[in-house]
Amino acid sequence: MNEVLTDINLEIEEGEFVAIVGFTGSGKTTLINLINGLSHPDQGEVLLKGQPIVGPGPDRGVVFQNYSLLPWLTVYQNIMLAVNEVFSDYTKKKKDAHVKKYIDMVNLNHATDKRPSELSGGMRQRVSVARALAMNPEVLLMDEPLSALDALTRGSLQEEIINIWSRDKKTALLITNDVDEGIIMADRIIPLKPGPNATSGPEFKINLERPRDVTAINKNPEFKRLRNDILEYLIEVGASRKQASDKSYQLPKLEPIMPGRIRFGMKKETEKTKYF
């Protein structure tokens, strides 16, 4: 029987930033859904501070892959929705200050009263991060937060997320398909072998000192070594997965239609100006 994830033994220390790298379809989103409580494991348990997780909750803040902002609410209202839930005993002023603090943290002061449809992709993701952080969660879970963005925005947002994280040093789990991103942001990288029956590969500890400069880090020899090691491992695993299947497919016989062949049917008239 095929399982999505098998034999996952993951332990995350408090204050640690762990990155999980893997191919698409290797069960990364399933793993994060197990941790944030939206799915339940068939076997085994998920523990937060020794207590098993029963369901989703604001103590595990999630940054979704497709942002999941409510499109009929403005940026301020989206974050206020989260703050209202978690800090229901605060006064209105306090809540307002709290929301504004996080909007400021992600540099979106100029867009406080805009709706998500009026924002760019990078801005929407920043709102999503601000919402997750405003809940003051124990663990910050990020499910491929930057994969829907272009490569140029990704770099600047990576820096921002690291900056924000380093203020509170929350426990964070990042799912990504970009090895560079994982190395830049995390303390530990765990690759996931591709599914089905995906398991975790050997973990790589990242000894690069913080704060890490995104541009200068490319010249760091340790960075290059880590990058090579992880990529080699992933490519090897990917290649072996391809070799595993030895089915042969019978392809249909197709002949191309060469230009100049005689066609049946009427020749189309040229486009005339339409008056009606």
Partner: protein
């Protein structure tokens, strides 16, 4: 200034006047001239064409009917009587006019007659009010209800009654269908268990609903002061038209994007907040579509229901004119037809306007 005008025009639904406004502002004359022709002049042209067609058709029918009458006289009573009949018809005397599809001029004449009739009746009502103001004050002091005008309602009054009934029915339909739709959308078990009820009652004809409601209201309401026909009408209209909203609401609620449900789960919203803050706004477009269909269906079934419930509205007006068979009855019925169509069109536009005001841009969901 010009852009703002164009934007307002588009918003209220008169977007076809945009080329004309641009033309008056002197912008790109060639293109805007052709556009004005396409969007304004041609539709007016088509209306004139329709009127010409109607005039031609009605005069053809008139002549055929006249010939038939003359021939009938000829076969019944001989040539002399036929000649008399011909003169009678030509002279325009009311007693021997052919009774067929009226021409546009006749319809217009009937429309003016109805307006005059309305003014006359309003005048009568005002006189009545001024005459009974003292008596009613005394009755009020004693605790009795005031004497009201009980004369024949005019055409415009009947339009008013129809509009009141349709809005009352629409509100009833919305109040019943939306909560039930939300409950059914949220729970798949309820949905499958009550689906049969919806499927069976949805295609039931308005006439049958009217009889059902009549049976129930007749036994329940015994107070003679209440206007029973109005109550029966609006309840029937509501019950007939609520099914569209019900089905659309339940579908909208059950197909809310999974992402939003995940957000609400992670934030641990309680059930009330979940419904009002996440599910309802997300399913609002579908609910509104259901409401629009409900309003147009309500207006359509209203005429039939009013006819049968004897409520003093457009439906009973049409029926009475038909029964009357007076000379200008057909013309009055055609006036009523245009009024019904026109009001239906305006109601639809009103809903569109409200929808534009309230909806958010769903084009790109974030």
């Amino acid at each position: 200034m010009k852009d703002k005008l164009i934007k307002t025009m588009r918003f209220i639904g008169l977007g076809f006047s945009e080329p004309l406004i641009r033309l008056c502002a002197g912008e790109d004359t060639q293109k805007n001239l052709t556009d004005t022709f396409k969007r304004m002049i041609f539709p007016i042209f088509s209306i004139l064409l329709f009127l010409a067609f109607w005039e031609g058709g009605s005069s053809y029918l008139y002549n055929t009917e006249a010939q038939r009458k003359i021939e009938k006289e000829r076969t019944d009573r001989g040539d002399e009587a036929a000649l008399e009949m011909e003169n009678c018809i030509a002279s325009g005397e009311i007693s021997c006019q052919p009774n067929t599809l009226p021409s546009p001029t006749q319809v217009y004449g009937a429309y003016q007659a109805l307006l005059r009739d309305h003014q006359m009746i309003s005048q009568k009502k005002d006189d009545f009010l001024s005459k009974t103001v003292e008596i009613n004050a005394k009755r009020k002091a004693k605790g009795e209800s005031p004497i009201t005008y009980t004369g024949r309602p005019s055409f415009v009054d009947q339009i008013g009654t129809s509009i009141k009934t349709v809005f009352a029915g629409f509100l009833l339909a919305a109040l019943i269908a939306i909560p039930i739709g939300i409950i059914m959308g949220l729970s798949p078990t309820l949905r499958s268990s009550f689906n049969w009820l919806i499927q069976i009652f949805k295609p039931v004809s308005p006439v049958v609903w009217l009889l059902l409601v009549f049976m129930i209201v007749k036994t329940l309401i015994t107070n003679p002061d209440l206007d029973k026909s109005f109550i029966i009408s609006f309840i029937s209209v509501g019950l007939c038209s609520m099914w569209a909203t019900l089905v659309n609401t339940s579908m909208g609620v059950s197909t809310v994007d999974k992402d939003f449900i995940n957000v609400s789960k992670v934030l641990k919203l309680n059930i009330g907040q979940n419904i009002f803050k996440v599910i309802l706004p997300a399913s609002f477009p579908l609910i509104f579509t259901g409401l629009r269909i409900t309003l147009s269906v309500a207006w359509m079934v209203l005429i039939a229901i009013e006819l049968l419930a004897q409520s003093p509205g457009l439906g009973s007006f049409v029926w009475e004119e038909f029964q009357n068979g007076a000379n200008d009855s057909n013309a009055k019925i055609i006036v009523a037809m245009f009024v019904i169509g026109g009001i239906g069109f305006l109601l639809e536009r009103l809903m569109l306007l409200i929808q534009k005001l309230v909806t958010f841009n769903k084009a790109d969901l974030a």
